[in-house]
């Protein structure tokens, strides 16, 4: 009759309490997924369209400007418009030069911890909202291909840093207006804000926070990495806001360059 408890076992299949319904939530939990779907879909449609345009991505010396759309920088195809072309070119690339490079920023955002949260919820409904049933009957999370590739996030982060550097270079170069000297236009401000937002988004990244200092066991033993970590931590808390802001602004930057390049708008010179 005498027994002793051994280790606690995980017992599967116990009867659960409560009614068998997807959720008992009464609030409007579906608003967030709807907003996420709307913005991301709009961005994907616009950016795909813009990437395939293969024109109006550069405002050049003919109007005394040097503005390049972030979707097309660096412009690596041999038939890039003059002035936009980077030092290196792929000969014989017949498609839009945007398609050569967009995989990197796209990959960075696709594997970003914040965007993952958002699209798993809004697009995959896994789950659509907290305490609302998953739309799928089986679930293996990020343990298998292809989703195990999410672990490559830090490589896209590194690539993102290269792009941020290039776009920063573009923004700085834009202040030098061919034939007119240095000046500040709406376009230079747009490109600068875009670069700043992209830097902020990249630096607030969780992988960045880990690589800069989060990965150490003892901060005391690594004072410089601790200082970085302390700087990045409040920024990381704003990663969501920066993800949205930089996403929307990069599209707006392309819109602006496109409007100016197509002649629909004049890039107003401020001083």
């Amino acid at each position: 009759m005498s027994t002793t408890e051994t280790s606690t076992k995980v017992v599967l299949g116990g009867t659960r309490g409560g009614p068998d319904v997807a959720t008992l939530r009464q609030d409007r939990w579906w608003i967030q997924p709807v907003i996420t779907v709307s913005i991301l879909t709009a961005f994907v449609i616009y950016s795909t369209w813009a990437a395939f345009q293969n024109r109006y991505y550069y405002v050049g010396a003919n109007v005394g400007r040097d503005l390049i759309s972030p979707f097309y920088s660096p412009c690596l195809a041999s038939d890039c418009v003059p002035g936009a072309k980077a030092g290196f070119a792929f000969n014989g690339w017949a498609l839009s030069p945007a398609l050569l490079i967009l995989i990197f920023p796209l990959g960075f955002r696709l594997t970003c911890y914040y965007y993952r949260r958002s699209y798993y919820r809004a697009f995959w409904w896994s789950p659509p909202a907290c305490a609302v049933s998953d739309a799928h009957s089986s679930y293996s999370g990020e343990t298998r291909f292809p989703l195990i590739m999410q672990n490559m996030h830090r490589y896209f982060f590194y690539a993102g840093l290269v792009f941020n550097t290039l776009l920063t270079y573009d923004a700085v170069r834009a202040f030098r207006q061919p034939g007119l000297g240095y000046g500040v236009t709406v376009g230079t401000i747009v490109l600068s804000v875009n670069a700043v937002l992209l830097w902020a988004y990249s630096l607030s990244c969780h992988a960045c926070r880990h690589l800069c200092g989060g990965g150490v066991k003892s901060f005391k033993a690594h004072p410089i990495r601790y200082r970085f970590w302390k700087l990045l931590t409040p920024l990381n808390a704003k990663h969501m806001n920066l993800a949205w802001a930089s996403l929307v602004f990069v599209a707006l930057t392309d819109v602006y360059v496109r409007l100016v390049a197509s002649g629909a708008l004049t890039d107003y010179k401020l001083f």
Binding site: V10, C130, A131, D134, S138, I148, K220
Partner: protein, 259 residues
């Protein structure tokens, strides 16, 4: 005196249903107050688990209007008009009424390889505030298990309970991995047996945490990054090879008894 209608789940493993109770409600009262009033008047056998009634012990977790909440910290005047629905936590098997069998969590707790510090100096360890504060955030956990309850990995997929530790234990692992004195390495264990990869960081655990622990940002993602360090990062792998750092696995570590 104001009144409130409570729709409370009554039942056990053999089934159950909602029962409505209309009871008095005083200013400033929380859900647990009216549940107690129901017990004291209409239904003395209404089962509900509670202890401190101050948000410190985490016993009275249940689902209020469909969301995991501590009944003792949910003021009725913050809820919308109309009947208040109270159900037991969905992820765990029901015992009776609002009480569930949370032994899943105690089973997980037994699997955690303990802290393995070096021998203690006579006057105690020297640790610095910047090194203890990360762990201190996770040690605020009151084990209400609402993060476990809301986590869809096990809430909606019962079978995953076999190979998934859940957010509460990810913060425990993070605490140990970030502990300045710890010499165990649990990264293999976390990836292979605790199912960190099942988490798709949808952040519901963070949303429901009554202690406002940033479970996802400060524990789960840093753990994922640590697993990347150990398994998915060739650069880090090369670095380790060059510096001849041998990687200790968690299974080795568990053999070493903690002092």
């Amino acid at each position: 005196m104001a009144e409130v209608t409570m729709r409370v789940w009554r039942g056990d493993a053999n089934g159950g249903d909602f029962e409505n109770y209309t009871v008095a409600q005083n200013e400033g009262e929380v859900v647990l107050d009216v549940i107690h009033r129901i017990q004291a008047t209409e239904a003395p056998d209404l089962a509900c688990r509670w202890n401190c009634k101050a948000g410190k012990c985490g016993s009275c977790a249940a689902e209020v209007n469909g969301k995991p909440r501590l009944m003792c910290m949910t003021r009725l005047d913050t809820l919308p008009e109309g009947p208040v629905t109270v159900t037991p936590m969905k992820t765990f098997p029901i015992i009776r009424d609002l009480v569930t069998d949370v032994s899943f969590n105690f089973a997980q707790a037994e699997k955690v390889p303990a802290l393995l510090p070096p021998p203690m100096p006579e006057n105690g360890y020297v640790m610095f505030q910047e090194d203890v504060q990360r762990g201190q955030e996770f040690r605020k956990c009151i084990e209400c298990f609402m993060c476990q309850d809301v986590c869809h990995v096990i809430r909606d997929h019962e079978g995953n309970k076999q190979h998934y530790a859940g957010p509460r234990f990810f913060i425990r692992y993070a605490e140990l991995e970030m502990h300045p004195l710890d010499t165990n390495d649990r990264r293999d264990l976390i990836r292979e047996e605790m199912g960190l990869g099942y988490c798709n960081i949808t952040k519901c655990c963070t949303e429901v945490c009554p202690e406002h622990i940033k479970i996802t940002d400060n524990a789960i993602i840093p753990l994922k990054e640590r697993v990347v360090d150990a398994h998915y990062d060739p650069v880090a792998w090369l670095g380790r090879k060059i510096r001849r750092k041998t990687k200790r696995s968690a299974s080795d570590a568990t053999v070493q008894p903690a002092p």
